[in-house]
């Protein structure tokens, strides 16, 4: 009997919930026993260490891990690999990337970059006097948070200063950064505060689609409109693109990552082969696609109808 572990950052974010569902479906199909673990809050590193220890104690064959702290987790990953467990990083690569046996990931920086480029192109000449609200995840600035934020700014053509930190930019077009905890409540409150600061905001970057929905409510209540961009590609988010709530979102594929991961573990258990990375990259890229119904020149995108086919819940 093959047993596997799935360790996600949290289990309340729909992204990870869907990832878990994908893994469970695949595990049931292949006859693998799957146990799931998660951090208690965003950036919860300790719970992930404890989870890896539990997997080792439990004699698992493989671990699928979306790391909260990509540098810090490597010791525990090494311990697991020393115990003969296949460790696959999902969604977020570890640092260094070869700390895991394999990585099935999307490039969060690229996801941000795409929406940044789209927003800049959409605004055209006005991009020079844009007023941008940045709705980030948490003040602890976990790596997704930083990568998506800095990707967006890079795509929009703004100097990011220290690329490992958001909030240190000095470009006057940025009205302010606020944290949202990645949910509607946080998005709404953050947007209200930024609107009080500057009622003329016309571009809104959001860490994910729930916070985008919250930001939209705040704009609606204030009787304003703005270009909202986001990342994730969950079905409600794509629906929001279709309804014109969100201008564009970068879609990622958690179900795919998870099911590929489970397959790799099953294969490893059967004959000991480890998965190979995508050609030319040091990880297996599960891809990212920009979804918008207002395509712009020079940025590749798919429309919301196509996005709804590919969305993950």
């Amino acid at each position: 009997e093959v047993s596997a572990c799935l360790i996600t950052k949290t289990d309340t974010n729909p992204f990870f919930v869907k990832m878990k569902e994908g893994a469970e479906a695949k595990a049931a199909e292949l006859g693998v026993t799957l146990k799931s673990y998660a951090g208690k809050i965003d950036g919860d590193h300790e719970s992930q260490v404890a989870a890896i220890e539990a997997c080792i104690a439990d004699g698992a064959k493989g671990i699928l891990l979306t790391a909260s702290d990509t540098k810090a987790i490597t010791d525990s990953v090494k311990a697991a690999r020393d115990a003969g467990i296949l460790v696959i990083a999902l969604d977020t690569p570890l640092e260094p990337i070869d700390a895991a046996d394999a990585t099935f990931a999307t490039d969060n920086f690229k996801a941000g970059l795409l929406i940044g480029q789209w927003a800049a192109a959409k605004m055209g000449a006005d991009a020079a006097n844009a007023k941008i609200a940045m709705l980030d995840l948490a003040i602890s600035q976990p790596s997704v948070d930083v990568l998506r934020d800095q990707g967006f700014l890079t795509g929009f053509g703004i100097d990011t200063k220290d690329p490992n930190k958001w909030g240190d930019e000095e470009d006057p077009r940025i009205v302010g950064n606020e944290v949202t905890a990645g949910n509607e409540e946080g998005g709404l409150k953050a947007m209200e505060a930024l609107l009080a600061k500057d009622p003329d905001i016309n571009v809104v970057y959001t860490i994910n689609e729930p916070s985008a929905a919250g930001a939209f409510e705040a704009l609606k209540a204030a009787g304003k409109t703005a270009l909202i961009v986001s990342v994730d590609g969950g079905c409600p988010g794509v629906q929001d693109v279709k309804d014109g709530v969100i201008g564009a979102t970068s879609q990622q594929y958690p179900l795919l990552m998870a099911s590929l991961g489970i397959e790799a573990i099953a294969k490893f258990a059967a004959d000991g082969t480890k998965p190979a990375p995508t050609e030319g990259k040091d990880f297996f890229d599960t891809g990212v696609a920009l979804i918008t119904d207002q395509p712009v020149e020079g940025v590749e995108s798919i429309d919301s109808a196509k996005g709804l086919e590919l969305c993950w819940g």
Partner: protein, 357 residues
């Protein structure tokens, strides 16, 4: 023998003609003394002063602060914390604490939403059921605390986890979108409606919060039940001996707190548009409401303080948060400064009280 007893107390003869004058001392009547006395008698005055001062300071620091829209935004941002604070206040007055307030609120909002969208109940019925279920969750807390005599902190720590987990499991982490609710069940979003006067929108939710605070202030001050709540928090043994049904009062208090939380859950739908099981209130609602209560001058050891103080406490936090954002610090520094200002607000409160004592 009785005669012997008489003799032994014969010195009481001296009592004859004892003065019946009530002790009266000169009273200082200058204005400062009067202000001090008033401060002493009105526990909610101190947070009010802190509030006014911080309003003035932020008004000076930021041009945008003293705009009507900013002020109404502050009010709407504290609406939910204010309602949770009502729940937290009555619980803390009984020397308890309720860590589950946020979880009850979020779970109630999810229940209201899912009953409408998953089972197709009319929105009004879902709301009524949601309010009842919230009350029931509170009553369970009350039962465990009063009947099994478990410490409130640990009971509500447990139910917090239980309800939050139930919330995620039951909702399958699915958000109900604002536009769907708007079309099919607008009653759920009732409190998101607003009154417009002179270009300034004030949410119904804000009026609801103020009404709840006013009602509870009356109930706590002017009804027997309110006095019993204070007595239970002050000294439960003494209250029991003096004839208060402490257990019943405790259950009622927690159940009522549950109802307030469910109301907060309903308000959340109106305010955020959507129904989201991941709302931060579930995690942070308890700390936020406790902060408001404590800044409002209510003792965590029970029996002392006023709910109006809690209202000012919530406002102080709201004003700080908004003010700091307008002044333009980055979120980490905002977080830092709010920490500083919480301590500062309570220190000022303490200092004024000391001067006034």
């Amino acid at each position: 023998m009785a005669d012997e007893a008489k003799a032994a107390t014969s010195y009481e003869a001296g009592l004859k003609g004892a003065s019946s004058r009530v002790a009266e001392f000169h009273e200082d009547t200058n204005t400062l003394k009067k202000i001090q006395h008033w401060l002493h008698q009105t526990p909610s005055a101190v947070p009010m002063i802190v509030l006014v001062v911080s309003l003035i300071v932020f008004g000076l620091l930021s041009d945008n602060f003293f705009k009507a829209t900013t002020l109404s935004t502050i009010l709407q941002q504290i609406a939910i914390v204010g309602i949770l604070g009502c729940a937290q206040t009555i619980v803390i007055l009984t020397a308890g604490i309720d860590l589950s307030v946020g979880a009850i609120a979020v779970f109630s909002s999810v229940l209201m939403g899912q009953m409408t969208f998953r089972y197709g109940l009319p929105a009004e019925v879902s709301i009524a059921l949601g309010l009842c279920l919230g009350t029931a969750m509170g009553a369970v807390n009350g039962f465990l605390i009063s009947r099994l005599k478990l410490p409130p902190f640990i009971v509500t720590l447990g139910t917090w986890q239980i309800l939050l987990a139930s919330n995620f499991i039951y909702s399958r982490n699915e958000t109900i979108r604002s536009s769907d609710i708007g079309e099919q069940a607008p009653a759920l979003q009732f409190w998101g409606g607003s009154i417009e006067a002179g270009g300034v929108k004030v949410l119904y939710a804000v009026f609801l919060m103020i009404a709840l605070v006013a009602i509870m202030a009356y109930v706590l001050r002017s009804t027997a039940w309110g006095r019993h709540v204070y007595a239970v928090g002050d000294d439960p043994d003494a209250a029991e001996l003096a004839g208060v049904q402490t257990k019943r009062v405790l259950i009622q208090v927690y159940a009522l707190a549950g109802l307030f939380c469910a109301i907060a859950g309903w308000v959340m739908i109106g305010r955020f548009g959507s129904v989201s099981p991941t709302a931060s209130t579930g995690q942070l609602g308890n700390i936020q409401s406790i902060t408001a209560v404590v800044i409002g001058g209510i003792s965590l050891f029970g029996g002392r303080g006023s709910i109006v103080g809690m209202f000012f406490g919530a406002l102080i936090v709201g004003v700080f948060e908004m003010g700091l954002r307008l002044v333009g610090t980055d979120p980490q520094w905002t977080f830092f400064l709010i920490g500083v200002l919480i301590i500062f607000a309570v220190a000022v409160d303490q200092w004024i009280r000391k001067v006034a004592a």
